[in-house]
């Protein structure tokens, strides 16, 4: 005979395997986070902080920049929690999106510093400074634009691209995994790539001009 519990908490935790105390599941953490329960910020940090920090370290190298990105990501997520809707997707995916933005900001900051130090070097050598006013490094702006465009894509296009790129699935595997018809997956991929292309060609050109 099953005992009815008044508080439906999941016992145990996929991350820690610890039996005690009962841990809220990821969905419960997300709901409490959105509701402003302070414990949920600590839970979210316990569960996803190392993964976000790993992203930042991969993008920026270990050090103060990556630490700043992690700190800013959680602070903006907490301050902006009203913008998170638990019914629109998992909390960790939302946090990753915020973290990518902070990483993009850090890339731009670094690139600006690099140009400034190049400029200082050129003027010290009394060389022409034709490059000083040039736009940001193409690879950096491309990444910043792509991150912004990913956010604009909306679902299911963004999820399909994430499965293709971040999980390395083929379009057939994506269709199988999500239940979206094969032709629709192909069509979403095509449209999303074309959209990225226009964004890079149009806005990329504007940023470099």
């Amino acid at each position: 005979m099953a005992v009815a519990h008044s508080v439906p908490l999941v016992a145990g935790n996929a991350v820690t395997g610890l039996p005690h105390p009962p841990e809220p599941d990821d969905g419960e953490v997300a709901r409490r986070f959105a509701a402003g329960d302070e414990r949920a910020l600590a839970w979210a940090y316990e569960r996803w902080g190392p993964q976000l920090y790993g992203l930042a370290v991969r993008a920026l190298g270990a050090g103060p920049d990556a630490e700043d990105v992690l700190q800013q990501s959680f602070v903006s997520a907490w301050n902006g929690r009203a913008g998170y809707r638990p019914d629109a997707g998992p909390l960790p995916a939302w946090l990753v999106g915020i973290c990518r933005h902070r990483i993009a900001d850090a890339w731009v900051r670094r690139e600006r510093q690099r140009r400034e130090s190049d400029a200082a070097l050129s003027s010290a050598r009394l060389q022409p400074t034709g490059d000083v006013d040039a736009g940001l490094d193409t690879a950096v702006t491309d990444r910043v634009l792509v991150i912004a465009e990913l956010e604009r894509l909306g679902q299911p296009q963004r999820g399909i691209l994430e499965l293709a790129f971040f999980e390395d699935l083929t379009h057939a595997q994506i269709a199988e995994r999500t239940g979206i018809p094969l032709g629709t997956v192909k069509s979403h991929i095509r449209r999303s790539l074309e959209r990225l292309r226009s964004r890079l060609e149009v806005d990329g050109a504007a940023l470099h001009s």
Binding site: V15, L163, R190
Partner: protein, 263 residues
């Protein structure tokens, strides 16, 4: 041999295998291979982004949480043993974090090394589940978006635009772009006002950069579903425009727009 479809070219840009016939055509056709090349810039950029599946989790230094707690005023604290367990669970064995760039020459991150492919194969199931879950939600949201304009077929909503009054009108409404299983597209448009005095409303897609327009059709009875021709790139022609037209036999835009919105 006919040209590859745009879907096939997009898959080729992702390095997905094509049929031998398509591969042969691609190798010999300048137009098709140029199309693949032009898509590669976005593909390469996406590939270079840090992603949860390949970036090993790393235990953050304690100072980070202290700074978060100070900035948010939150007094709850993460448990060190749980944090360490998350870092260990999310780690990719044998993949040390890359060294920090030197302060003298900060550079953007290098492209992923080739051996990262092996790491990608070990993508963590948790993230896959999370992304798949968000996709399922997206589909549900898409379905409800379609329901908004009273459609019940199983086309997927890919974009939507709120239509706001334009040019001093009081017309507003919404437009929802959907893709059917056969990949044909349809734009559902709904408007709050009806034409009066013998005029009619027409729906257009506008490229805001070039101001070029494509006529989609007549908005009849306040709500209608209009097919979007194949080949119209709605990321370029992304502004939905509704015009008031006189029955004068002139097929051009009357220049009296009453509502607009961006897809």
């Amino acid at each position: 041999m006919q040209h590859c479809t745009r879907e096939e070219l997009a898959l080729a840009a992702l390095s997905e295998p094509l049929t031998p016939d398509q591969d042969a055509h691609l190798a010999s056709c300048g137009a098709c291979s140029a199309e693949v090349g032009s898509l590669r810039r976005g593909v390469d950029t996406l590939t270079a982004l840090p992603r949860p599946a390949t970036a090993p989790a790393v235990l953050p230094p304690p100072a980070v949480w202290s700074a978060i707690a100070a900035a948010t005023g939150v007094s709850a604290t993460p448990r060190p043993e749980v944090l360490a367990a998350s870092a260990a669970a999310g780690g990719a064995p044998g993949a040390p974090p890359p060294p920090a760039p030197t302060a003298a020459a900060p550079r953007p991150p290098a492209d992923p090394p080739v051996d990262e492919l092996a790491l990608r194969r070990r993508a963590r199931r948790r993230w896959l589940a999370a992304v798949a879950a968000s996709l399922a939600v997206g589909i549900v949201v898409g379905a409800s978006g379609a329901a908004l304009v009273g459609r019940s077929d199983d086309a997927v909503t890919v974009a939507a635009a709120g239509l706001s009054p334009y040019g001093g009108s009081d017309a507003s409404g919404e437009a929802v772009l959907r893709v059917r299983d056969d990949e044909s597209r349809v734009l559902d448009v709904r408007l709050t006002v009806r034409p009066t005095g013998g005029d009619y409303f027409e729906v257009w897609l506008l490229d805001p950069a070039s101001q070029r327009m494509i006529a989609l059709g007549v908005l009849d009875g306040g709500q209608t579903a209009l097919p979007v021709p194949d080949g119209v790139d709605t990321s370029v022609f992304r502004t939905v425009d509704v015009s008031r037209e006189a029955v004068d036999g002139d097929p051009a835009h009357s220049a009296f727009s009453i509502a607009r919105g961006e897809l």
